[in-house]
């Protein structure tokens, strides 16, 4: 049984105040110029309640660039290593879409299936997710085709559903959610009587992910991958906006006295990703790299981790400079 409260518009303001006083960083969707970005939220008015951010909220737990190691070149031939901590600030991810919250599981399985990645784990442990049910979706959305829905509670600590009369119903789903309510008790009022919520957005299912997985088993050599990717630039934009893409690069940055080892987002769509030192490239063609993207998310992920590597947010389709639409391509692949 989940705890349910109402959170009024003024309650949101007092919640944000309470979080600031408690030293919590609050990130959420915010309109900056023409884009929605995941940025610091200081006032309730700054929150973009509808629409998808361009880049996902993934950076909260898996930053674009982060330091894994520091070292100093000491006199003579010696090197001194300095371990680093992620310095994960207690963070509330406020007002994100449910697909963003759900995506953390797809990252978690990779960062923890064998070796445990403390950088990801400490950030995730210090992040409380308050999602808002989607009341608006667009043509690129396909959450209902990948086992989710616009009011999916998976991955959220608190799920907010907008009320017709303003404010939200707040469903508290986890201990982290309870701890957040405890921080700002005055903001959350007991739910009394019938609350009329704004209906969740309608996202018509476009394909069956289980059927797609079965079809992919026999489609590796299909011409469909070449046809779909002939216009692909290999720019990697789809991976960089994606909430579940987890592939990364590791690079050193140093001067003559000291250096650091950094991890940065990467994309299987790029030629250098798999290029061997010998010049041999196992995925030499863009069509092979496009196929890898599809198979990794919709065949290898479910096979290995019993979950899809996609939440159907559609960010990749909106970001693609050559209008490759993932939903349409998957519908085609599932035929």
């Amino acid at each position: 049984m989940t705890d349910r409260y109402t959170l009024s518009e003024s309650g949101v303001a007092s919640l944000l105040d309470a979080l600031a006083k408690a030293g919590r960083r609050v990130l959420g969707p915010k309109k900056i110029a023409e884009r929605i970005e995941i940025a610091e939220i200081k006032t309730a008015a700054e929150l973009a309640k509808e629409g998808q951010s361009t880049v996902s909220a993934k950076g909260t737990v898996f930053p674009k660039v982060e330091r894994l190691l520091k070292y100093r070149f000491e006199g003579g031939k010696n090197v001194a290593l300095e371990d680093v901590e992620p310095n994960a600030r207690p963070t509330v991810l406020f007002g994100v879409r449910p697909c963003e919250a759900r995506a953390f599981h797809a990252l978690d399985v990779v960062f923890n299936w064998d070796y445990k990645d403390k950088f990801f784990n400490q950030r995730l442990a210090n992040t409380t997710v308050v999602a808002i049910t989607c009341t608006k979706a667009d043509e690129s959305c396909f959450c209902t085709s990948v086992g989710s829905r616009p009011d999916d509670p998976a991955g959220s600590d608190i799920l907010l559903s907008p009320l017709k009369s303003g404010g939200y119903v707040a469903e508290v789903l986890t201990d982290k959610g309870k701890a957040l309510v405890a921080l700002a008790k005055a903001a959350f009022q007991p739910l009394t009587g019938a609350a009329e919520v704004v209906p969740a957005a309608t996202v018509a299912p476009a394909f069956d992910a289980k059927l797609l997985e079965r079809k992919l088993a026999g489609k590796f050599d299909s011409p469909v991958w070449l046809e779909q990717s002939l216009r692909c630039l290999g720019c990697g934009a789809c991976a960089f906006v994606c909430p579940t893409c987890v592939c990364f690069d590791i690079q050193d940055e140093a001067d003559t006295r000291q250096g650091q080892r950094l991890r940065a987002w990467d994309s299987c769509g790029m030629r250098l990703f798999t290029l061997h030192a010998s010049g041999h490239n196992p995925r030499d063609k863009q069509s092979q790299r496009w196929r890898q993207r599809i198979y990794h998310k919709f065949a290898y992920y479910p096979d290995r981790f019993q979950t899809l590597g996609c939440v159907g947010c559609g960010k990749c389709s909106r970001a693609c400079p050559v209008d490759m639409n993932l939903k349409q391509h998957l519908v085609e692949a599932a035929q």
């Binding site: 894994l68 031939k77 990779v110 070796y115 403390k118 798999t274 030192a277 196992p282």
Partner: protein, 279 residues
Amino acid sequence: MSNDNIYKPYLMRIADITEEAPGVRTFKLEFANPEEGAAFKFSTGQFGLYSAFGEGESTFCIASSPTRKGYIECTFRETGRVTSSLADKDVGDIVGFRGPYGNVFPLEKWKGKSLIFIAGGIALPPLRSVIWNCLDLRDWFKVITVVYGARSVPDLVYKHELDEWGKRTDMKLVTTVDPGGERPGWTGKVGFVPHIVEQLAPPALNTVAIVCGPPIMIKLTLPVLAKLGFGKNEIYTTLENRMKCGLGKCGRCNTGRSYVCKDGPVYTLAELEKLPAEY
């Protein structure tokens, strides 16, 4: 929650450098912290990420045998940013090492069998680890044969060890160089590795073949082994996909459902045929 930094390397001191071939060197590496060295264990077939601090990390196998304690060796060709920086290092310098990672050659399973190792060029290092491991456990195995080819005589690596293996009476070494790669005084064979294996015609009965080399050599050697009667579960290879983490996360070595860094690098031909040919 574990607070270990899985990306933190061991500091290793270069104890010795051997020039193997043009641009190819072997480092003998000792743990800068002897306690870490004493606790370190690996099995043959495993690999690691070697770092030139300031430049980054590169993936190579551990080229020494786990039967030789207290150090590890790696052999690399100067090719990119990291290997060029490593090539500039001297004895006494510090490099980084993360590992051991990946699966292993199943020596227990091979007990009582004959072994034939087939290697080409710079692909001898991963097999050198397992060859020495098997020679150090010599009574576990019947006939041990090594076929090693390179483009030319100067390109052969581990020249001193090839001499030693050639003189041993408890193993058979066949070396070959590509036509035109021979030099005055060359007493080995001249010809491509697959042809040499075909001429040698090792009996497949109760024998395991371990093959490592450039993709073209592997591609042409496998049909020869099939013709000789080697089963797909009796042929092993080790893959060298590009890697960044070695920990089953960065996604680079992902081939089909396999992470080469976790499920590999050692595969039987039967396992390999289940993967897309993206290696």
